[in-house]
Structure formats: C-alpha cells, structure tokens
C-alpha cells in the first residue's frame, strides 16, 4: 500500500485502490450469501429456523450485495481508473471522490443490516427502505457531479467510446432510481409507493430491466472498450460499430421492461412492445460481442498464456450467449415455459457470473498491478481462478437450465383424463433437488476462485518494491 506509483501526482489512484478493495471484499460476502441460498434450496434445514437467516431475507441481501456492492464498486474502480487516463486529468474533486466512496460503503452496510431484519419495500432490486433510497440518490449525484466535472476539465477534445457507455449509466440510473422509488413515507422504515396495481408493476420492471441494462451491461461494455484493447494492445475493431451499437442499445433497452410481465394483467399491446423490443436488442448486443472478439484479432496466440485475455474471451462469450437467450425468453411462447422456473436463474447467472463477473476479474488483474505498481504476484494462480470460475459457471448454468426446463414441462403435463400429472408442487421440488446440489458445487467453485484472487491481489499489493512495475 505504501508504494507510490509514478502517476500519483496526476491521477487519483488511491480512490481506485479503495474501490478495488471494496469490490473484492463485498464480492466474497455477496457470493458467500449466494452459496448459502443455494444450500438452503437444496437442504432446507440450512434456513436455521431463524427469521434473519431465512431464504426470504437473505435472497435480497445476495442480490443487493452482488449488484450494488460487488458490481457497483467494480464499476467505480474501473471508471475512476480509466476516465482519468482517457481524459488526461485527475478526478475533478478529491473530496467528492472520498464522499462517493464512503457514502456508497455506508449504503451497503445499512442494506446488510436492514434486509436481514426484514425491512423492505418489496420491490425486487429496489428493496431498500426510503431513508436509504434518499442516501443512494445523494451519493449517486455526488458521483455524477464528480464524473461530469472531470469531463468538463478534460485535457483532450475527443470523448472515447467507453465514456459514452459510462455516461449512459450515470444518467439512466439516476432517472430509474428516482422514478421507481417515489413513495410516501409513513414511518421511518415504511412507505407507500405512489403507483398502484399494474402501473406499479410496470414501473418496477421498467426499472428492474434497465437496472440490468445500465448497471450490468452498458457500463461493463464501456469497461470492455477500455480494458480489452489495453490488455490486448490491439486497436478496437470498429469505431463505427461501437457508435451504432451504443445508440441502438440505449434506445431499445428502455422499452424492453414488459418482457418481465408477459402473460400478466398488463395490456396485450404493452406485452407486445416488450417482446418486440427485446428481439431487436439481439443485434445491438452482439455488436458489442463482435467488437470485443474481433479486437482480439492478432492477439489470439497470447490467449494461452495471459489469464486476463482468457477472462475477456469467456466473459464476452457468455455475454453473447445470454443476449441470445434473453430475446428468445422474451418470445411469448418461450416465456410461458421459462417464467417462474430456474431457467430464469440460469439466464441471470450466465450473465452475472459469466459476463459481469469475468469482466470484472479481467479488469482487476489488469488494474491492480498498475495502481499498486507491483507485478502480479502469481499468473498461475490467476489462471487457476479462471478455470475455477469458468467450470463453476458451466455447472451452475447447465444444472439450472435442466432444472428449469424440467420444472416447466412438469407443470404443464396432463394425463389422458385432463388432470395435472404432477399436481403437487413438491413433486417438482423433489425432482429438482439433485440439480440444486450441482448448482451449489458450481457456486462454491466460483466463490473459491474469488478467494484465490483475493489472496493473489493481496500478495501483489503488499509485496516489496523489488517487484515494482517501474522503478
């Protein structure tokens, strides 16, 4: 930690180091909770019979921890690192950087206390109660001010494409968070949404889908546009493609929310809008995949030795896969089978563990040596991490696909007399149980990989100056 990188006076790498540390720590916590959930679904006694440790309360803790704490801190680390270098300037305000960091960690700690206590708004991915929502709004605006302030004082004219992706996140998340959380407070911990019934559901899934779009997708694409060409030392395949798929993505994403409400009380026309816009998202998403993979032309031979490139290729492949699967799941007939089943869980984690997780790991392995000015402690441990993560994802996702399709088919199976063949829900649960154990195994491998990474980065950061990248 004491090492002062050469760039220290110009760039604020201290903030980057803090965000990296937070990413790794919250990642371990969030995924440990994920593994506990996986165990609870396979083996109910793991709920421990206590309200605070029951599945219903730990599930939102997992989703909030992995999305806002792990992914959130990772995005901030990557954005602070890359935007200073792209704009050739230090962050606009060190005070705001600091308020942003500590404010965000305070939100996470509050979430980790309130969710197990059962305080919730009952909206998925927006569970946190109104006082915390206000704090999120304030801290996010602090970040936004610092972000746009830095753009304003930039030393270059051109805004590299990564920044466009970051910008879409900063703006869209502000709007989404405020609109979805509009509520009338009743007590300190309880509030009533200003919307009701179907309107509330529609606003919620407009938020939910775009939270996926503008936290788990577009900003990661932005990071890919910076960290992948840097790591591969190859030019980006196509500037034109990057601009076109960017605008197509941000324009189309906003309309796709209703694909979460197919076959509900939502009017038919709105369901059609959700389905059709989701189908049109396929090509713009694949635009990002193409630009990523084709940027690696000429660097494929380094894939064998460089774990960072391995992580990128796997991440981008999972991105391509889940953005093919998503549009398919938006088709009414397919959703009729997949909705409510573990198929959705498979889709979520192919995106989350594959695309989000492996992109973050690639970025951390690139960035940590730079900001601590130390050579990576062990390349072979990073490679071990890669295989643990990738095999873990495959186990997780294949088990959940199988479980999902099996359950969907069991629900709709009739016998000759027209009666349900599996009238008891518990019949399906018994059938799925082995798959839940396989998912747990996959999840533990993935978690194990992160712990290996944590050790590797710790050794990197604390090694002595004989390992410095530059003297």
């Amino acid at each position: 930690m004491e090492a002062a990188p050469l760039s220290a006076p110009r760039y604020d790498d201290a903030s980057v180091r803090r965000f990296i540390t937070a990413t790794v720590l919250w990642g371990i916590v969030g995924m440990l909770v994920g593994a506990i959930l996986a165990l609870q679904l396979a083996w109910a006694p793991a709920n421990l019979g206590l309200p605070w440790t029951s599945f219903g309360r730990l599930r939102p803790l997992h989703t909030n921890a992995v999305i806002f704490a792990f992914t959130g801190n990772a995005l901030f680390a990557g954005i602070y690192y890359s935007m200073q270098r792209l704009l050739k300037t230090r962050m606009w305000s060190d005070t705001l950087s600091s308020v942003h960091f500590w404010g965000w960690q305070a939100i996470i700690v509050l979430a980790a206390v309130t969710l197990p206590l059962g305080m919730t708004q009952g909206k998925e991915y927006a569970e946190l109660i109104w006082p915390i929502d206000l704090l999120i709004a304030v801290v996010w605006l602090v970040f936004a001010a610092n972000f746009f302030g830095t753009i304003a004082i930039r030393k270059v004219k051109h805004l590299y494409v990564a920044l466009w992706f970051y910008m879409s996140m900063v703006i869209t998340i502000t709007v989404l968070h405020v609109v979805n959380n509009l509520a009338l407070p009743a007590t300190l911990t309880r509030s009533y949404p200003v919307y009701s019934g179907m309107t509330d559901a529609l606003v919620q899934w407009w938020y939910g889908h775009n939270a996926v779009g503008f936290l788990l997708t577009t900003p990661i694409l932005g990071l890919m546009y910076y960290f992948l060409p840097r790591a591969a030392q190859r030019p980006v395949f196509s500037y034109r493609l990057s601009i076109i798929h960017f605008w197509a993505l941000v324009f189309l994403y906003i309309w796709a929310g209703p694909h979460h409400l197919l076959y509900s009380a939502l009017p038919d026309w709105a369901q059609t809008v959700g389905m059709v816009f989701s189908l049109m998202l396929l090509a713009p998403s694949w635009g990002g995949m193409l630009n990523g993979l084709l940027t690696l032309r000429g660097a494929w031979d380094r894939l064998r030795t460089d774990p960072i490139l391995k992580f990128w290729v796997a991440a981008i492949t999972f991105y391509g896969m889940s953005t093919f699967e998503g549009p398919m799941m938006s088709i009414r007939a397919v959703n009729a089978l997949s909705h409510f089943t573990d198929w959705t869980i498979a889709h979520v984690h192919a995106g989350a563990l594959g695309w989000v997780g492996e992109s973050v790991f690639a970025m951390l392995y690139y960035m940590a040596p730079q900001v601590w000015n130390r050579k990576l402690h062990s390349v072979s441990l990073a490679t071990t991490h890669f295989w643990l993560a990738t095999v873990g994802i495959v186990l997780y996702v294949v088990a959940m696909w199988t479980a999902g399709v099996t359950q969907g088919l069991m629900w709709r199976a009739f016998d000759e007399a027209g009666l349900l063949q599996y009238p008891n829900f518990v019949d399906t649960v018994r059938t799925l149980n082995p798959f839940y154990w396989i998912r747990l195994l996959g999840g533990l491998m993935y978690l194990g990989g992160i712990i290996v990474m944590a050790w590797n980065l710790y050794k990197t950061a604390t090694s002595d100056s004989s390992n410095a990248l530059e003297a």
């Binding site: 890359s82 270098r85 792209l86 050739k88 270059v156 004219k157 051109h158 590299y160 494409v161 910076y226 060409p229 840097r230 030019p235 980006v236 395949f237 196509s238 500037y239 034109r240 493609l241 990057s242 076109i244 197509a248 076959y263 038919d268 026309w269 369901q271 059609t272 809008v273 389905m275 059709v276 816009f277 189908l279 049109m280 396929l282 090509a283 713009p284 694949w286 635009g287 193409l290 084709l294 549009p327 009739f414 000759e416 007399a417 027209g418 009666l419 349900l420 009238p423 008891n424």
Partner: protein, 161 residues
Amino acid sequence: MSERDKVLGHADEADGIEEYDNPLPTWWLGLFAGTVAFGIGYAVDYHFVSKRSQAGEYAAELAAAPKAPEATAVAATPDAIAAGKEIYTANCVACHGPDLHGGVGPDLTDATWIHGGKLDEIAHIITVGVPEKGMLTWGPILGPQKVGQVAAYVHSAGGGQ
C-alpha cells in the same frame, strides 16, 4: 481492402487505444434489419391480422382441453377405502395429521363437522376446498375418482355420518 483496418488516429486522445473504422459486418446488419422487420410484422399480425390476444388464447386452450370426466358416484367399498388411505398419506397428512386428528386443518375423526359429515358432503368439500382457509381445491388435482376414494377413507375414520 482499402477500407479495412485503417486506424482513425485518435490514440493520443484515448490513452493510446487505436481504433479501426471497419465497416459493419453485412450479416450483422442483416440480423438487425431482420429482427426489426420480424418485430414489426409480428406486432401487426398479432394485433390486427390474426387478432390474437391473451384472453383469446386462454379461451382456445380451455376449449381444446379434455373435459374432466363426470363425477363418479362415491362408494365406500373396502377397496376404495384402502386406495383412499394412500391418497390421504400422500396429500393430506401435513395439515390433518397422520392419524387424522388434525393440525393446521381440523380433526377429521370427531363428530364435529364444519361442512357436514355425510360421505357426499365430505367429497364435495374436498372437491371445492376452502382456499381462503388453506384447504386446497382438490377436485382438479385429484380427479373425481381419487376424491371419492379419499372421501370414503375420511368417512370411515370415525366421524362419518
């Protein structure tokens, strides 16, 4: 090939990252145009040509579904009671207890009945259930024959009238 792999020359403004300005792959453009065309075509067809709807789909599925067989008369034969015991064990124990003395649901062996203790009354309440109290509507789940058997078993267990 002239257009291929020409760098734009912004690298000094992008932390050294070069960008080619390669044209969009044709198949990618085709895919994009294809999904847009399909989307518009689908929406027009669904709402204006085939005039489909969620309610219509439901009605059509109901009409196509095999009709549930008419209720068979309930007969309390020893065979029916034995079969009913198995159905009871598989479905009802959680709420009415292994020996029918109740739990979440009421005791089924005493003379007190909320919905009547005659065989056909028992069969009826099992068929329609009391969903607001947690007693499922077993008719569509078990079918009339199994409802008859489990009703016979309950009726034979002590409280039947």
